[in-house]
Every structure is written in structure tokens, then in C-alpha cells.
């Protein structure tokens, strides 16, 4: 068990679609499980990241908690990977970047249709939103990028098997063209 490569995964401002796509490697997951151990991940429900080899980050950075989580990953993961369009470019959540944060929160909590007891949530337990959604590489150093929305299961498979077999990861053209 201890010889296995340790992998941690997380979804920040993402939809878990990248995680679903990872699961689309289907029965190959058995093969993968022989070689890797998932530590902190929604797949294991372990909440804290400890030292590991590979960290997979889905989603962009939209609030202070995302920043802390991302930094925890950077601190503990030897190799940190931005997975999917949201982690790389901000993706769908970054469409709020075109609307000032005041207006976003105002529409949701003050002026929107059906809002009762209008006030901006201010419980200290709640993470504050950043002014914009940022791609992960603008907040911490990222080692690899897996493009796609989501990256296809074969992209995960090729990338992870390359790493596991000691090759420099490379994605062939067929896996990264989308038309």
C-alpha cells in the first residue's frame, strides 16, 4: 500500500464534471487502483491534503477558501495539475467577471425576485468572494495543464500512465482537438 503513488484531487469553482470524466476511464480504474492511492479527494471523502505525488485541481479560484485549499495542495503535492477549462481559464464561472461583484451579490441577496429578508451574507464561517474568478495558475505555480471541458477520460489515462511509467507526459493531437 505504501509503495503506491499518492494522488489528491479537488474541485474548486468547478462542476465536478472533470471528476466524472476521470471515472469514465471505466474498468481501467481497477488497473489504476493497483498503482495509485487516492488520498484527499471527493472520491474518498478525505478532507485534508497531506504529502502526495500528484494533485489534480478542477475548477477556478472564486473565493478565499479556494485560495487556501489551492495553497494546501501546492504545499503538499509534488506535481500540481490544472485540470479542465475552469482551472485553466476560469471557464463558465468566470462569466461573472463581466458583471461587477456588487451587482452579482445585489441580484442574489438584495434586489432579486423573491428575495426575503434582503442582506448580504456575512457569517464569518462563509468564505468571501474574490472580485473575479481567477485561473489557478495565477494564484499558485502549476506544473501541468490538462485542457478540455471536461478533459476526456483518455486524457486522464494518458497523462497518469505517462507519469506512473516515468515518461514526460505528452498528449497526442487527437486528444486535444475538439472539432
Amino acid at each position: 500500500m505504501t509503495d503506491k503513488v499518492k494522488v489528491a484531487t479537488v474541485s474548486l469553482a468547478g462542476c465536478f464534471g472533470c471528476h466524472m470524466s476521470l471515472l469514465d476511464i471505466d474498468e481501467r480504474i481497477v488497473q489504476l487502483a493497483d498503482q495509485v492511492e487516492f488520498i484527499r479527494s471527493p472520491l474518498t471523502d478525505i478532507k485534508r491534503c497531506t504529502d502526495c505525488d500528484i494533485g489534480l485541481i478542477e475548477g477556478g479560484v472564486c473565493n478565499s477558501e479556494n485560495v487556501h485549499t489551492l495553497r494546501e495542495f501546492r504545499k503538499h503535492c509534488r506535481i500540481l495539475v490544472a485540470v479542465g477549462a475552469c482551472a485553466i481559464n476560469g471557464g463558465l464561472p468566470n462569466y461573472r467577471n463581466y458583471v461587477p461583484l456588487e451587482e452579482c451579490l445585489g441580484e442574489s441577496y438584495l434586489d432579486g425576485i423573491g428575495v426575503e429578508n434582503p442582506h448580504i451574507p456575512n457569517d464569518p464561517e462563509l468564505p468571501l468572494l474574490l472580485d473575479k474568478v481567477y485561473p489557478v495558475h495565477e494564484v499558485v505555480k502549476i506544473d501541468y495543464f490538462l485542457p478540455g471541458c471536461p478533459p476526456a477520460a483518455d486524457v486522464f489515462w494518458k497523462f497518469l500512465t505517462d507519469l506512473l511509467e516515468g515518461r514526460d507526459p505528452a498528449l497526442p493531437y487527437e486528444l486535444i482537438h475538439y472539432d
Partner: protein, 594 residues
């Protein structure tokens, strides 16, 4: 307004290809393009309204929302910055009580920055309602602010505010000996048109815009196309920051330029020519029209020119603030009234140009030189220059030197000679060919002006040792990000990322991998962009990185990573809205792992 638009469209024969010219006039009259005007034009020109809004949004001098009745633009060229442009703009903003980039509440005045206006030898420069302002200082700004606050009509402003000096500091072969009106055409008809083309070929004249394509070959290709319609276009969209020689040629030697175009028409069989004049040179427009009129009167333009059976005339089209329109295929799109997005090449304009017909597009200086060659012959031209670069090059020299202005040199002249002549001391480096060219360090001043060594469209900006390389690179990358036409992703996204990455390092947020990332990004933009703009946009970064790698490395923090933006500041709005200031409501700029 309805009548105005209708008359305007009629004046332009309700032609779609006149759209840009029509929109310029609407902007000049109303200080924006009103929705009503778009609706009405859409009907009159039989084009969808989105075609019109697309064009308005593309050009910097056209606006969908009202600008001030006095529209002030301040040139953002590095040479303007070197003369305190930033402070002066701040002073102007304060005097007029208007923020940069905004319209004053009463709608009287708006203030903004604009790309280099071609007044680098007499900056800081600006424009008011499209007309050039030069030598801005606090005194002039006081006067301008006063004139505006008194609502003095532009026509009543003192002429000295608009005075543009030609400053020909060192004339050479061409500038010392301008031709007599009609001399080139007479010589060409006398010698024979084929023989004249052969003469130009023998002279080795190459395009003076920078790319250096053989002029005679271009004219011959155009002539060789089996088409009945051909066009001659003079590219006076002199947008490369630091260049202003075409402005001088058109102000003092326009006859010779128009004669070169007419010569080209005689040889190629074109009947229509265009001078594409950058919008920033609006002050030359009336004068150039007058010269065209004179030439028609003198039988040098119009029908049966010099009674040789040649019919040819020239129209002037104004640009509207788009650097990309200096690229020949984008220029042609703009002539056709569209957004200036470069076409796929090939086919080249010589086979498929204006309206899909064979078109010669040459730089102002090329036509200027061609007419001199027609008069004086190839041997006269090749007496100076190098084997591969015959003749002379007209340079626009600006920046840190005692005598900025126009200089004409034989190809093969060293940069050191140029620097000595213009009185440049303690030089750090020289930007040759503008931001899209090459930055050379003070170790390279023995290099030569020539297509085979330092090719240039004519922009020479000198920096002395008090200047900071990063200020320069930052200004240039900002320029390209602003001027990218937005058509292809590597350039549209790449130039913005490049600007951000340069700013990150410049502002001291760079760390270990950031210079490598900058270089990789630069190479990507260079290698994958659709046209010359993107292919050269990373040159300021790549050419300085090559020469001053240690300067970049020294800027980096000794940590593995730091964000390029203020992370805690990004929480400001949310903190204010949630009225929180507890420890959890803040973020450190760098994580504990770094």
C-alpha cells in the same frame, strides 16, 4: 439628423464600401454614432445593422456612446512618455475636471489616450476632434483648457497650437532633389513604360514600408494579371510608433508621391488610385485634396493625362485609428468600408486586392522614390546603398537626442553615424523599426541600415542610459494588446497575456518560472498568429530578453511563486459588502509554501 444622414449617404452614392468614410463624418458631427443613424444607414446602404456596429466597434475613433464636443486624445507613444506625457495628461485632466477615459458630466469634453499620433519629434502630442496638437506643455494646456471652457469653436483656436513642423534635419539623395511636377510622367512616356519599369527594376528599389518586396516585381505581377480593372493604393497609414516620415513627405512632397502613384497606374493600367491616410493625419486632408485638384488642372491626373491617353484619378480615404490597417490586406478591407481584419495571404493583393481586383499597395516613400528613379534613372539611384539595398532610407528619429526629425541615409550607414548626426549621448539602446522591430543595445552600433542587417520602416527611437528597459517593453506590449484586431486567438489573447506577464515582472511580482513563461508565451504568439501584428508583437520582449537576460532575472523574487495581482485587494468589495474585517476575511499575498 435624418436629412443629414440621407444627404451624406447620397454624397457617397449609398455605397457600402464608403461606410467608414460616412461613419467618420457622422462621428465628427455628433461625436458618436447614434443608434438612429445606424438604423437609417442600414436601410440606405442595404446592409445589416450588425455590419455597421461591427465597424464602429472596430475603429478607435468611432464610438457608440457620446464623446465630448471637444474630443481630446493624448498620444501614448513611448516618446511622449519620455517627455512627461503622464504628468501633463494628469494636469490636463485636472484643469478640465474630467477623468482620463471619461466624458465630463456636461458633455463638453472627453479625454483619453490614443496610440502614437506620429508627432514623435514634437511631442508630447495629442488631438482635438481629430486635429493634431503638438508640443504640449503646461502653458499650452492652460490655453487649451481655457479655449474649451469658453466653448471657443475649433476654427477660432490659435494656429500655433496646431502647427506641425517638418524638421527635415538631414536630406539625402531623394530629399535634396525633389522632382519637378510632371517630370516623372514625362520621362516615363518618353522612355516608354516598359523601359521605365525595367529602369525601376534595375534600380533595385524595394518597398519602404519595412518588408522590402521588390517594387518593380510587384508592379509587373499586377500588370500580368488577366483582369480589366486594377488599382493603385498608397499606404499612408503610418501607425508604427516612432514613424513620421510619411507625414513629412505628404506635407512637403505630396506632388512627387502622387506622381509615383500615377506612374504606377501608367505602367500597370490602373484607372483608380487611393491614398489611405491615417486618421491622425486629418490636418493634411484639405491640403492633399487641393494638390490633387491642382494636378487635375495641370493635366497630371484625370482623363487623358499629358495627352497620352492615360486615365487615372486618386481618392483619399481616411482611417479611423487602427494600427492594423497598415497591413496591406487589412488596409484594403478598410478601403472597402469594413473592419480592418487581415485577409488570408495568398492570394496577395497584386492578384486579389481591392474589390478582388489586382492591386498594387506601396508605401508613401516607395512611390516617392519611384518617381525620382523615373526621372533620374537607375544608375543615379544605385550610386549609393549596398548591393542588396540600393539607394537611401528616410528615417524618423526621435527620443533622447538633441535634434529629432527626418534624416535620409544611404543604406549601409552605421547606427553610430546616425546617432552622432542627431546628437545622441550616453545611449542605452535604439529601437529600430518601432515596437515591431528590434531593440539593439549599445554594443551593436556598428550594425548597418540595410535589408540584410537592420531592416526598418523608418522608426528610430533612441533611449539614453536614464531609461528603464521595462518601461519601454511595458509601453510596447500595451500598444500591441490595444491594437490587436481580435481575429485570431494567439494574438487576441496572447498580446493581453503578454502585457499582464510583463506588468507582473515589471511591478516586482515575478518569481522563478515567470521569465521562462514570458518567453514561451512570446514564442507562441510569434509562431501562431495570423498576420504580422501578432508575429511581431512579442519582439519587444524577445529582443530585450536576448540582450538583457540578467535584467529580467534580477527582477524576480527568490520564491517559487507570487500572484501578479493584489490577492487581498481582490477581497475588498466582498469585505465591504459583508461588513467584515476579521482575520478570515483577509489573504496573504504569498502562501506559506512559497
Amino acid at each position: 439628423m435624418k436629412q443629414f444622414i440621407q444627404d451624406l449617404a447620397e454624397k457617397h452614392n449609398n455605397q457600402e464600401k464608403q461606410l467608414l468614410q460616412i461613419l467618420r463624418e457622422i462621428q465628427a458631427c455628433y461625436h458618436y454614432i447614434p443608434e438612429q443613424a445606424i438604423e437609417q444607414l442600414s436601410g440606405l446602404l442595404s446592409i445589416p445593422r450588425t455590419r455597421i456596429t461591427g465597424v464602429v466597434e472596430f475603429y478607435s475613433f468611432l464610438h457608440l456612446t457620446p464623446r465630448g464636443q471637444y474630443e481630446l486624445l493624448i498620444s501614448d507613444c513611448i516618446t511622449d512618455h519620455m517627455r512627461d506625457k503622464k504628468d501633463l495628461t494628469g494636469y490636463l485632466a485636472e484643469k478640465l475636471n474630467v477623468a482620463v477615459g471619461a466624458v465630463r458630466k456636461d458633455g463638453l469634453v472627453s479625454l483619453d489616450n490614443t496610440s502614437c499620433t506620429g508627432m514623435c519629434d514634437q511631442g508630447p502630442a495629442g488631438m482635438v476632434n481629430g486635429y493634431a496638437l503638438t508640443r504640449l506643455d503646461r502653458d499650452r494646456i492652460d490655453r487649451i483648457a481655457d479655449l474649451i471652457n469658453r466653448r471657443e469653436p475649433l476654427a477660432a483656436w490659435p494656429a500655433d497650437l496646431f502647427y506641425v513642423d517638418d524638421t527635415v534635419a538631414k536630406p539625402g539623395l531623394l530629399l535634396k532633389q525633389p522632382i519637378m511636377q510632371g517630370a516623372a510622367l514625362r520621362a516615363a512616356f518618353k522612355r516608354g513604360l516598359k523601359a521605365t519599369l525595367a529602369e525601376i527594376e534595375q534600380s533595385g528599389l524595394r518597398g519602404r514600408g519595412g518588408a522590402g518586396f521588390k517594387t518593380a516585381m510587384k508592379w509587373a505581377f499586377c500588370t500580368g494579371e488577366a483582369q480589366s480593372e486594377r488599382y493603385v493604393v498608397c499606404n499612408a497609414d503610418e501607425g508604427e510608433p516612432g514613424t513620421f516620415k510619411d507625414r513629412v513627405l505628404l506635407n512637403s512632397f505630396a506632388h512627387q508621391v502622387f506622381e509615383g502613384m500615377t506612374l504606377c497606374a501608367a505602367i500597370t493600367g490602373a484607372r483608380q488610385g487611393f491614398l489611405y491616410l491615417r486618421g491622425e493625419y486629418l490636418h493634411l486632408y484639405d491640403r492633399l485634396q487641393e494638390i490633387l485638384h491642382q494636378r487635375r488642372q495641370a493635366g497630371l491626373l484625370g482623363s487623358n493625362i499629358l495627352r497620352e491617353g492615360l486615365d487615372f484619378d486618386i481618392d483619399i480615404h481616411l482611417g479611423a485609428g487602427a494600427y492594423i490597417c497598415g497591413e496591406e490586406s487589412a488596409l484594403i478591407e478598410s478601403l472597402e468600408g469594413k473592419a480592418g481584419i487581415p485577409r488570408n495571404r495568398p492570394p496577395y493583393p497584386v492578384t486579389h486586392g481591392y474589390l478582388g481586383k489586382p492591386t498594387v499597395v506601396n508605401n508613401v516613400e516607395t512611390f516617392f522614390a519611384a518617381s525620382a528613379i523615373a526621372v533620374n534613372g537607375a544608375d543615379w539611384f544605385t550610386q549609393v546603398g549596398t548591393e542588396k539595398s540600393a539607394g537611401t532610407k528616410i528615417l524618423s528619429i526621435s527620443g533622447d537626442c538633441a535634434r529629432p526629425g527626418i534624416y535620409e541615409y544611404a543604406f549601409g550607414t552605421t547606427i553610430q553615424t546616425v546617432l552622432n548626426d542627431c546628437g545622441a549621448m550616453d545611449v542605452l539602446g535604439v529601437q529600430m523599426g518601432g515596437p515591431s522591430g528590434t531593440f539593439i543595445s549599445n554594443q551593436e552600433f556598428d550594425r548597418k541600415l540595410a535589408f540584410e542587417d537592420l531592416a526598418t520602416g523608418g522608426s528610430v527611437i533612441i533611449f539614453n542610459e536614464s531609461r528603464n528597459i521595462f518601461d519601454i517593453v511595458h509601453n510596447f506590449t500595451h500598444f500591441f494588446a490595444h491594437e490587436s484586431c481580435g481575429f485570431c486567438t494567439p494574438c487576441r489573447v496572447g498580446t493581453s497575456l503578454l502585457r499582464k506577464q510583463v506588468a507582473k515582472i515589471h511591478e516586482g511580482h515575478g518569481s522563478a518560472g515567470d521569465v521562462a513563461a514570458l518567453e514561451e508565451l512570446g514564442r507562441l504568439i510569434k509562431g501562431y498568429s495570423h498576420c504580422g501584428l501578432g508575429q511581431t508583437a512579442a519582439n519587444p520582449v524577445l529582443t530585450t530578453l536576448e540582450r538583457y537576460p540578467e535584467l529580467y532575472q534580477n527582477k524576480l523574487k527568490k520564491i517559487s511563486y507570487e500572484p501578479g495581482f493584489d490577492l487581498d485587494g481582490a477581497l475588498d468589495i466582498a469585505r465591504r459588502l459583508a461588513q467584515r474585517d476579521d482575520a478570515a476575511a483577509h489573504l496573504s499575498q504569498v502562501g506559506d509554501h512559497d
